[in-house]
């Protein structure tokens, strides 16, 4: 179960990483044409690929299609199929007894390792934030000056926020900031600001709140915690945070004239100037951060109406949709080829594990699971669920017995003795493998829970008339 979950997460990690890189490649073009909010929300949407299995939607579509087209898939009654020939039957000749290794490499611990990483990541964030909360509010003072309150409530009214926003000042803060996910708090530096400056600051911080940025930030941190092993998850998150600030500026300044924008930029620069050290850097005169800031200023000054034209909207939406679709299809294809999980229309989840088939040694290479067929399951007289699998090459059908969340191939073909038979308790399997010389080799396995561990193997050769034994 856990391993399947992590398989899915890996697929999602790779697909979302790929989509992010595609977007990054296109960024030269998209930055010219599209609004910053588009970038912010598209990147965020791509990031959510790490959390939500969008590709599962495709499976739903296919299921519907299958239900419409495949009503004829009624399992034949095969009362004799599961009757196991007695292994002690006289016409069996013991050839060898051997114990096979389970798997050459055991990756069972990996999901636990990854989960431990997530737990550590989350614990780190919680500790950090508790410390931060204590720190910040030990040096902040609730600001109840009428001047502040008047401007704040005016800004709130204009932006359309009714929730109470607490305002703090701190002699240690040098930049205004918004804090909190449940309860918004704005902390201002304890210095004199003009009314216009206060307005700009409130607009900026309240816009963050209005757009639910703190929540998105929280969600992305959580996603990052789950995908802590993927470096792209960190890089993308920083990128999104940059776009978050840029698009917030965009929202705030769209309705401003050039002079107001200039003052907004000046406010930002003077705030930054206040928090910056005097020490001159010796190495890079043009740091990455400086370029970013220059770009931020340029963007604020340049934001224009052009980006809101209809065709730009259409192209922007088309790009988003094609990205989402590409991601969904790729993720779907990958997880499908891996044959990791398929939904059964009887309600459960089955893990069509090809490793199982390989392990049992039946036509491993030509047994191809067609999910559409495998979906068809049925509860028969013996009150067990079966799934139907068709071999693409030979057109033979296999019925698989479903145990909880996994299934085991139970029979191949109608009368052929080749196949896997599982006893009613699901703890023993008999594999019949027809050899070129006409003989059938029967191997007996013990099944260990859901892990298909082969604990004991016995090989016997059945005489050519063994099929009669089977049908008896």
């Amino acid at each position: 179960m856990l391993i399947n979950l992590y398989n899915q997460l890996f697929v999602m990690s790779v697909v979302a990483g790929g989509l992010y890189l595609i977007l990054k490649l296109l960024s030269g073009l998209t930055m010219k044409c599209f609004a910053l909010s588009w970038h912010y929300y598209t990147y965020t949407g791509i990031y959510m690929f790490l959390l939500l299995p969008y590709h599962k939607l495709l499976a739903l579509f296919r299921l519907n299609f299958n239900q419409n087209a495949g009503n004829g898939l009624v399992l034949p009654t095969l009362p004799s199929i599961l009757k196991l020939p007695s292994p002690s039957s006289n016409d069996l000749e013991t050839v060898a007894d051997k114990t096979e290794g389970v798997l050459s490499l055991n990756f069972d611990f990996l999901p636990y390792l990854l989960m431990a990483g997530t737990v550590i990541f989350i614990a780190g964030i919680i500790i950090q934030n508790i410390k931060l909360y204590r720190r910040i509010f030990s040096v902040c003072r609730l600001a109840d000056e009428a001047q502040f309150k008047g401007i704040l409530s005016k800004c709130k009214h204009e932006i359309g926020i009714s929730k109470e926003v607490l305002l703090y000042t701190s002699p240690y803060a040098r930049t205004p900031f918004l804090y909190g996910v449940l309860k918004p708090r704005i902390v201002l530096p304890d210095i004199e600001f003009t009314t216009e400056e206060l307005q700009h600051m409130f607009y900026h911080e309240l816009t963050h709140w209005k757009r639910h940025d703190p929540w998105l930030k929280f969600l992305m941190l959580l996603v990052n915690a789950i995908h802590w092993f993927n470096p792209l998850a960190y890089i993308a998150r920083y990128d999104i945070e940059r776009f978050c600030e840029l698009s917030c500026d965009e929202n705030v300044t769209t309705s401003m004239n050039t002079e107001e924008r200039r003052r907004y930029c000046e406010l930002m620069l003077s705030v930054l100037w206040n928090i910056t050290d005097h020490n001159v850097k010796l190495l890079s005169a043009f740091s990455d951060k400086r370029k970013q800031l220059e770009r931020r200023i340029d963007m604020i000054m340049k934001i224009e109406g052009l980006k809101n034209k209809k065709w730009v909207h259409i192209i922007a939406i088309t790009i988003v949709l094609s990205l989402v679709l590409t991601g969904a299809v790729v993720a779907y294809a990958v997880s499908d080829n891996g044959g990791q999980t398929n939904t059964v229309n009887s309600g459960g989840v089955i893990a069509s594990d090809p490793a199982l088939v390989t392990e049992f040694g039946i036509n491993a290479s030509d047994l191809k699971f067609i999910p559409a067929e495998a979906f068809s399951s049925d509860k028969r007289k013996d009150n067990k669920s079966y799934a139907k699998i068709r071999n693409l090459d030979s057109n033979l059908e296999t019925y698989a017995l479903i145990f909880g969340d996994h299934f085991i191939a139970a029979q191949v073909g109608d009368k052929l003795p080749t196949g896997v038979y599982v006893n009613e308790d699901g703890d023993e399997a008999y594999v019949f493998d027809k050899k070129a010389d006409g003989n059938t080799v029967m191997t007996k396995y013990k099944i260990d829970g859901n892990k298909y561990k082969v604990t004991d193997t016995q090989k016997r050769i059945l005489k050519d008339d063994s099929k009669d034994t089977l049908s008896n």
């Binding site: 780190g124 964030i125 950090q128 934030n129 931060l132 720190r135 910040i136 030990s138 040096v139 701190s170 002699p171 240690y172 803060a173 040098r174 930049t175 205004p176 900031f177 918004l178 804090y179 909190g180 996910v181 600051m201 900026h204 911080e205 963050h208 940025d213 703190p214 930030k217 929280f218 941190l221 920083y238 945070e241 978050c244 600030e245 917030c248 200039r262 930029c265 000046e266 930002m268 620069l269 705030v271 930054l272 100037w273 928090i275 910056t276 050290d277 005097h278 020490n279 001159v280 850097k281 740091s287 951060k289 400086r290 800031l293 220059e294 200023i297 000054m301």
Partner: protein, 123 residues
């Protein structure tokens, strides 16, 4: 110089008195001048003072029987240090916490910002 360390609220109260006094002070002077609601015993105050010495905020000189304490850092220096710490905290908070700051200075210098300001004015 030893790296400065943050001081606790209680330690800060003692420091506020030492800074305000403007001359070396003794333990008994400190206890006398503490706000009334703080009824610290001598031992407690001595412990706080020892911690402050350890943190490099004050130094003690023995005159006769009593220790005289005087600050090694001015109030302004300490305030600047606290501010820097706070900025760091906010910066960290905007990466790992729930803070959205208007600006984040990263590794910018005042010169960088002045250059950008000049560019903005020239537009």
């Amino acid at each position: 110089m030893k790296k400065m360390q943050r001081i606790s609220d209680a330690e800060k109260q003692i420091m506020e008195f030492i800074w305000a006094a403007g001359h070396p002070v003794t333990t008994s002077e400190i206890i006398r001048h503490l706000p009334e609601e703080k009824s610290w015993k001598q031992n407690t105050v001595v412990t706080f003072l020892a911690r402050l010495i350890e943190k490099g905020i004050i130094k003690a000189t023995r005159v006769g029987k009593a220790n005289h304490y005087e600050p090694c850092v001015t109030e302004q220096e300490y305030r600047n240090f606290e501010t820097k710490q706070f900025i760091k905290d906010v910066h960290r908070g905007s990466i790992f916490g729930f803070i959205s700051a208007l600006c984040d200075n990263g590794d910018l210098t005042k010169e960088d910002i002045e250059a950008i300001m000049k560019r903005l004015k020239e537009r």
